[in-house]
């Protein structure tokens, strides 16, 4: 077994059950590792060791009393700093919320607590989850543990980097256009974006409400199944969460064995795709072929409109969602405002970073009287076509396999042009627009030693099948178990 801080949930839950370790020891190991590497990785916005150790002690006491809550009991799980945890900061990596402490738990936080997890640390992100590199954090840029000069991806860069660096056993992120899958690919971890509506958004700071979804980062597909089990399910506090029976995801990894029909969309293998990424993904395709899967070419003809549609819908929703940050009730308030209008202008001008402002302005524009039909309404129509593309493909295949990111991790500062940065999500955005589940699984390394991930896209609410397909690959390879030299 690897060191505690690099072990999987599956390994650790067995060790805890067998009395080979305790949650306090495990949590201490994670804290020690964090204190050793965090200065270089900068994955966290804050962490509370006393609080984590108290939760760990409570877990050990439960276990001693024979009241263990399951495989997550006693496991330290890091939380992206857009998900509410009672009594802990909730900053969205924004100056606007730098001093905000949440008075309530998000539904996923509550669910993790019910599963016994040790809620651990607040993880860095691009401000308000807007970005693909974590460079848009108002506090600091998180580094890629495989190359500290490179970005970990984003927006959930802190969640991916912390896990890759051994600073947590699993983490939660949120994914609006690829914010879980892209950093997972860049940091060599598994990242799952569930079907829209499977996991409650209550307590997730909204970026784009119709696209946002919370999901796990883990060291294996099996761990993703364990974590999803804990957080999925209808929540009466989120009207967009769906009432469905939640299957046993971990059991499905063993019961669902394929062979499957795997679709390869040619639109995802064109210009802009790094050859080493293409080669690694092709090898994964060969793996499935060899295990007896049927590989089929499928077409997603509206793919090229994805980025454009996304930046209309996401910005429109964010322009409204971020209106509440006005300096009136909480958050940053300008010290020298003359009147209420001045208070709004100055507080927001000082509190938001440039990318957030850019998107609020864009979103305000596309919703404006006279432009609504041409932009927002048109974008919603194209969104329907994009979803229909996927559903048509699923008449023929069980899942779709693509690269997660066109390139491995890029250097800090390399994408100063916002448009270049937006294109990082070209393969992940369609999944959000269509509301589908998508998972990024490590599938190799570049010649320079940078992680490469592949994306598997499933059918709505068929996470059990998607995880089983991903697990078939992941359990037959050791990519996801490799660790960086830090």
């Amino acid at each position: 077994m690897p060191p505690l801080h690099f072990s999987t949930i599956a390994e650790l839950s067995d060790a805890l059950a067998a009395g080979k370790t305790t949650s306090v020891d495990l949590t201490r190991a994670v804290i020690a590792r964090t204190q050793a590497v965090e200065e270089r990785v900068k994955a966290f916005n804050s962490y509370d060791t006393a609080d984590a150790l108290a939760q760990a002690a409570a877990s050990d006491a439960r276990r001693a009393a024979g009241l263990s809550l399951g495989p997550l009991d006693g496991i330290p799980v890091g939380i992206k700093d857009v998900i509410a945890v009672t009594g802990q900061p909730l900053t969205a990596s924004s100056k606007m919320l730098a001093n905000f402490v949440s008075p309530y738990d998000a539904t996923v936080t509550e669910k993790l607590r019910k599963a016994g997890a040790v809620i651990w640390g607040r993880l860095n992100l691009d401000e308000f989850a807007m970005g693909s590199s974590t460079e848009n954090s108002a506090f600091h840029t998180t580094r890629n543990p495989y190359d500290l000069e490179r970005v970990p991806g984003g927006s959930s860069g802190g969640s991916a980097a912390a896990l890759a660096a051994g600073e947590a056993i699993a983490t939660l992120g949120s994914d609006t256009g690829g914010s879980i899958r892209q950093p997972a690919a860049l940091c060599n971890v598994v990242g799952l974006k569930p079907t829209y509506g499977l996991v409650s958004r209550y307590g997730l700071i909204a970026f784009a409400s119709s696209l946002d979804q919370i999901g796990p980062f883990t060291r294996s597909v099996e761990d993703a199944a364990i974590t999803l089990q804990a957080i999925a399910g209808h929540d009466e506090r989120d009207s967009t969460s769906v009432r469905i029976e939640i299957p046993d995801y971990r059991a499905a990894l063993r019961t669902k064995k394929g062979p499957w029909r795997i679709g390869i969309p040619r639109e995802y293998f064109g210009e802009g795709l790094d050859p080493e990424v293409a080669a690694a993904v092709e090898k994964a395709v060969s793996f499935y072929e060899k295990m007896g899967c049927e590989i089929k070419n499928v077409s997603l003809p509206h793919t090229e409109y994805g980025v454009g549609v996304y930046y209309i819908i996401a910005t429109a929703e964010c322009s409204s969602n971020l209106s509440r940050y006005d300096g009136v009730r909480y958050g940053h308030r300008s010290a020298d405002a003359k009147d209420i209008v001045d208070l709004y202008f100055k507080s927001r001008a000082e509190g938001f970073g440039p990318e957030v402002k850019r998107r609020i302005i864009l979103g305000t524009y596309v919703l404006s009287s006279g432009y609504y039909d041409a932009y927002y309404l048109r974008a919603q129509k194209v969104r329907t076509l994009i979803r229909q593309d996927f559903l048509n493909a699923y008449d023929e295949v069980d899942a779709i396999l693509t690269p997660t990111s066109p390139t491995p991790a890029f250097k800090r500062g390399a994408k100063a042009d916002p448009l270049a940065m937006y294109l990082c999500d070209v393969y992940t955005i369609g999944v959000n627009l269509a509301g589908l589940p998508g998972i990024s699984v490590p599938c190799g390394f570049s010649s320079g030693g940078l992680p490469i991930g592949m994306q598997l896209i499933g059918q709505p609410f068929k996470e059990a099948d998607l995880l089983a397909i991903a697990h078939a690959y992941d359990s037959a390879h050791d990519w996801s178990r490799r660790t960086p030299n830090l």
Binding site: A84, Y202, T240, S319, R324, Y330, I340, L367, S369, Y372
Partner: protein, 485 residues
Amino acid sequence: MKYEAVIGLEVHVQIKTRSKMFTRVAAGYGHPANTLTDPVVLALPGVLPVMNKAALDAIIKAGLLLGCDIAPVCKWDRKNYFYPDSPKNYQISQYDQPICLNGSVEIELPGRARNIQGEHKKIALTRIHLEEDVGKLNHEAFDSLVDYNRAGTPLMEIVSEPVIKSAEEAYAYLTSLRATMIYGGISDCDMEKGQLRCDANISIRPVGETRLGTKVELKNLNSISFVRDGIAHEIKRQIAVVESGGVIVQETRDYDGMTGTSQSLRSKEMAHDYRYFPDPDLMPVKVDEAWKARIHAECPELPFAKQTRFQGDYSLPYTLTSVLVWDQALADYFEEAAKLAGPGKAQAVGNWIVNDLQRELGAANLDLADARVRPAHIAELVKLIDAGTLLSNAAKEVFVEMAATGEPPAAIVAKRGLAAAPTDTAELEQWCRDAIAANAKSVAEFQAGKESAINGLKGPIMKASKGKANPKLVDETLRRLLAGA
């Protein structure tokens, strides 16, 4: 030139629900500032709205009572604008798919006299939609303080077509609308508590012109009388502007009911772009036939229908019905008493309620629900009078005591010896004969055909009997004696 006014009203009515529109925290009035709040009301980071179904029930009921078409699907939209009373800086409302369309409010215009029923008219509605109320700003010397207790309270916006012609019609419209809401249990419509608020869009045009004139929006009309006065004032103001060669500018004006004046708040150039779009946090709502049928079964009879029924079933005069039907509790009270009293006594019952009961309640500052006089008491009282056991003066005394003690009338009559004198005595006939003998003039007039002259004989009889003579018997005896004379 002669001008006519064209008026449309936008009425906001708070729905009486236990919790707020999109969260579980209680809705209410008069609580310490910012105590009816939770993370959703305060729009903390990460919270989401969840629809209150009771508020939907209420607006569907309002729609059914007003004859609206209930949309099979309605949705929620965000109305975006920055103001400190709006915690999210957007208001969840319904933009292009409101739940209720069309329908009307039936009104009664003033009659030629107070006791004559006026003309009835239907004021067409455009729509009714549901939204959330905003908080309240309290402006202090150097600060403005925000109280979010009201924020998130379910609020209906009832929009009329521009078909109201006068301040009196607007007054009748609000009176009828308010009664409908109270009857339906939808709202208490207390304007002092902001449960009913009204904005008026007013324009004028020369009589005969079909195009609409430039409209002015009048705000802060915080009582039904102020609505009437404000509109009357605005119509006069617009006519004066036009007649002096001026032009009406599209603007919002603030009417001050205390001084009877108005001033401009903002012009059209400062109008907002609300950037409406469908709220992605909420699902559209499907209203099926079963839902509508369930609410339909809860719909009460409305005042005008009740009035027609009271006039028919109980042969009540307009003056009584026009008091009874506007207060559902009073109307129910009347019906209970009238049924207990039995056929032919409804008008007497109605008179006791409208005159004596209302007076006693007013004097004691009591609600009908707290009245010690119950419908059974009124029925018993009317029956005692009808049977001749109780005379009207004595009955008044009985009522006053009944109102004070809640004792049944028969017990009061027995206790205080107020029963009418025995009915067929020689003594009564003697009093009648004496009165006829002493009042030749009245006798002559009566016999010449002046019916009312008989009353001139009754006074002395009552005096002689110290008020205990049964008036019915006195009347019969007098007529018998006069016929034989």
